[in-house]
């Protein structure tokens, strides 16, 4: 008996008990559907995270240093270093971050205040709605001026404020010299939740004499690794101890995040795969019932000359057909749902080719694997006993 014949038989058998075949398929549909959808959505999340990180600049190198009493990384030396390597580094900004009470009249909130250099705006691609950003002269003069984000405008000034007005940071009066454009719907802890002041002013306010964090912008994303090496040499020369500084790049961070989301994707896919296993057991169960029900048919076929192999094929192909059809339906359903949910959440989510191939392969494989046992049972039936059964 040819394979084509076995497929015809399988088709006939599936059609003749539509409800049962559909219910058996349902397990496979749900299993494949959940694998495709979860992996697809996870992929969308990964894309989102990657693009967000790319927006933040893959050419960024962040350095944090622990200054000691005797060995200090001086701001001016850092600027000098960047100037010397201007082909590699585009700009640098110190970052001095502290939490202070910010007050306007009776409104008072605890906010993060960041002391930055004049290049901070260009490094982070910020845009101003009004006023100006912190300039070199402000740093030189330790000017008490600040640039605020739209969240602060809403939170401290109830939505309206203009350049020239003042607010109190840690009890000191600061003049607002610039207001940034809204970037992230003015939500708390977003890019809009920020107050920038000259780093020199920030250093003084924090009662420390040193700056422990710098952000470097490489001239090109390709120079990041070389820049990292240069920085390593520079910092080691100054601090003489590798444990006193860390250099991290956005690219490395991105890699870590991608690794994490990939792992999550595998875990979710794995959990969803359990339903594939359950579906396979469902198919095995139905095929076992089917073998018992069709014992007489098997007996007739055997008495007419069907070999073990023929009976085996008949049942294995039937199981594989049920599970493959279920798999294909699951893939289509999963595809649709992934796109739909992706659009709803604003994610660029498409089922990965890998997950589709895997889902299809697994469903066909499960059909064959779990169909084997019942098929083998059928093939081994004694024709005399099988014929006698009713």
């Amino acid at each position: 008996m040819s394979i084509i014949q076995a497929f015809k038989l399988a088709g006939k058998s599936i059609i003749s008990s539509k409800m049962r075949s559909f219910l058996t398929m349902l397990g496979m549909i749900i299993g494949v559907f959940s694998v495709i959808t979860l992996v697809g959505l996870m992929n969308g999340v990964t894309n989102y995270v990657v693009s967000t990180f790319s927006d933040m600049g893959t050419n960024m190198i962040t350095v944090s240093v622990t200054n000691t009493d005797t060995r200090v990384v001086d701001v001016d030396e850092v600027y000098e270093f960047v100037k010397e390597n201007s082909s590699v580094f585009e700009a640098v900004t110190p970052q001095v971050t502290s939490n202070y009470t910010v007050k306007n009249g009776t409104t008072s909130e605890s906010e993060t205040v960041t002391g930055v250099g004049e290049d901070y705006m260009s490094i982070n691609s910020l845009a101003l709605a009004s006023g100006r950003f912190i300039q070199y002269a402000d740093i030189k003069n330790r000017y008490k001026g600040c640039v605020i984000g739209s969240f602060i405008v809403d939170e401290i000034f109830e939505g309206t404020v203009s350049v020239g007005e003042t607010l109190k940071i840690n009890g000191t009066v600061y003049t607002i010299i610039g207001i940034l454009e809204e970037q992230a719907d003015s939500e708390e802890n977003s890019e809009d939740d920020c107050i920038y002041i000259p780093y020199s002013t920030a250093v003084r306010m924090s009662y420390s004499s040193n700056i422990s964090s710098y952000a470097f912008a490489a001239a090109d994303a390709d120079y990041v690794d070389y820049g990292k090496e240069l920085l390593d040499d520079f910092l080691y020369t100054t601090l003489k101890n590798e444990d006193l500084y860390t250099i991290s790049t956005m690219a490395e961070l991105l890699e870590t995040v991608t690794e994490m989301t990939d792992m999550l994707s595998v875990i979710l896919g794995g959990i969803a795969s359990i339903s594939l296993l359950v579906a396979g057991i469902g198919i095995m169960n139905i095929m076992l019932v089917s073998v018992v029900e069709r014992t007489k048919e098997i007996g007739i076929r055997k008495s007419l000359g069907a070999k073990k192999r023929d009976i085996m094929w008949q049942f294995v192909i039937e199981a594989a057909s049920i599970s493959t059809i279920g798999g294909i339906l699951g893939i289509l359903l999963g595809w649709g749902t992934t796109r739909l949910l992706g659009n709803a959440f604003g994610l660029d989510a498409t089922p990965t080719v890998g997950s589709i191939i895997l889902a299809f392969g697994v469903s066909a494989g499960i059909g064959i694997g779990f169909g084997y046992m019942p098929a083998n049972k059928a093939a081994k039936l004694n024709p005399i006993d099988a014929l006698r059964s009713e």
Binding site: M1, Q5, K12, S13, S16, K296, E297, G299, I300, R301, K302, S303, L304, G305, A306, K307, K308, R309, D310, P383, I384, L387
Partner: protein
């Protein structure tokens, strides 16, 4: 040993030599066949008759290559069937034997044509030839117009004709009929028996298994089995005489 065709040098189609079939039922041994010797030649019409439990079904299973004896040798068409494995037996059944069952044993979901094609399918005959052979067989039994019907749409007699067509389709050397009239009324039974006679007159070898002496007497030769042994083997006239 009696045989219609007494030319001893001619090889028999069926040669059962000292056949024993022993079943273990708990602690007791059941000897379903207790030393059976039987030769059947080409062109014969033999009835194997016996009560239920006499061992006639067991010998039918062995003749039909559905089972192998515990002891003894079964030579079918020159091949030793008694030591064959399952798949070899399947091939022998497929090519050498045409079965006619009491319950017709047609596949309920397939139409008559597909049912008759079944042994040809397992013989690996290609689609076109298969269809032609099956249609020819249906024509021989006179239900070619019913080829597209499923068994349930046909009468018992028509279904049995279908199963005869299936038995004939592959041109087997032996037609083995197991209580072929058991499920039919007397008129249809008569038709089926007459048809078997026609087939025999055309040169087919027929072995008929029955519990009914009246049916057995339709054959040319009768073999009576009792307690796993042959207690009568001779021409039908002699059998009739022995019963009166």
């Amino acid at each position: 040993m009696y045989a219609l065709n007494m030319e001893e040098e001619k090889e028999p189609l069926i040669n059962l030599i000292d056949i024993y079939k022993v079943y273990q039922m708990g602690n007791t041994e059941v000897r379903a066949n207790d030393g059976i010797n039987l030769k059947i030649y080409n062109g014969e019409f033999v009835a194997i008759v016996g009560k239920s439990g006499s061992g006639k079904s067991t010998i039918m299973n062995i003749i039909g290559a559905l089972d192998v004896p515990t002891e003894g040798q079964y030579i079918l068409k020159g091949q030793d069937v008694s030591t064959m494995k399952d798949d070899e037996l399947a091939a022998v059944r497929n090519k050498t034997i045409g079965f006619i069952f009491q319950q017709y044993n047609l596949l309920a979901r397939q139409n008559m044509l597909e049912n008759v094609e079944l042994p040809l399918l397992y013989a690996g005959i290609n689609k076109k030839e298969r269809k032609q052979m099956a249609l020819d067989a249906l024509e021989r039994v006179g239900i070619q117009d019913k080829w597209n019907n499923i068994p349930n749409q046909l009468s018992g007699g028509q279904q049995q004709r279908g199963s005869i067509a299936r038995a004939l389709a592959g041109n087997p050397s032996l037609i083995l009929a197991d209580e072929p009239t058991g499920a039919l009324d007397s008129r249809t039974s008569r038709e089926v028996l007459d048809f078997l006679k026609v087939l025999n007159s055309e040169g087919n070898t027929i072995v008929l298994i029955t519990h009914d002496n009246a049916i057995a007497e339709e054959a040319k030769r009768v073999v009576k089995i009792h307690d796993g042994k042959i207690i009568f083997d001779g021409p039908v006239e002699e059998y009739k005489r022995s019963r009166t």
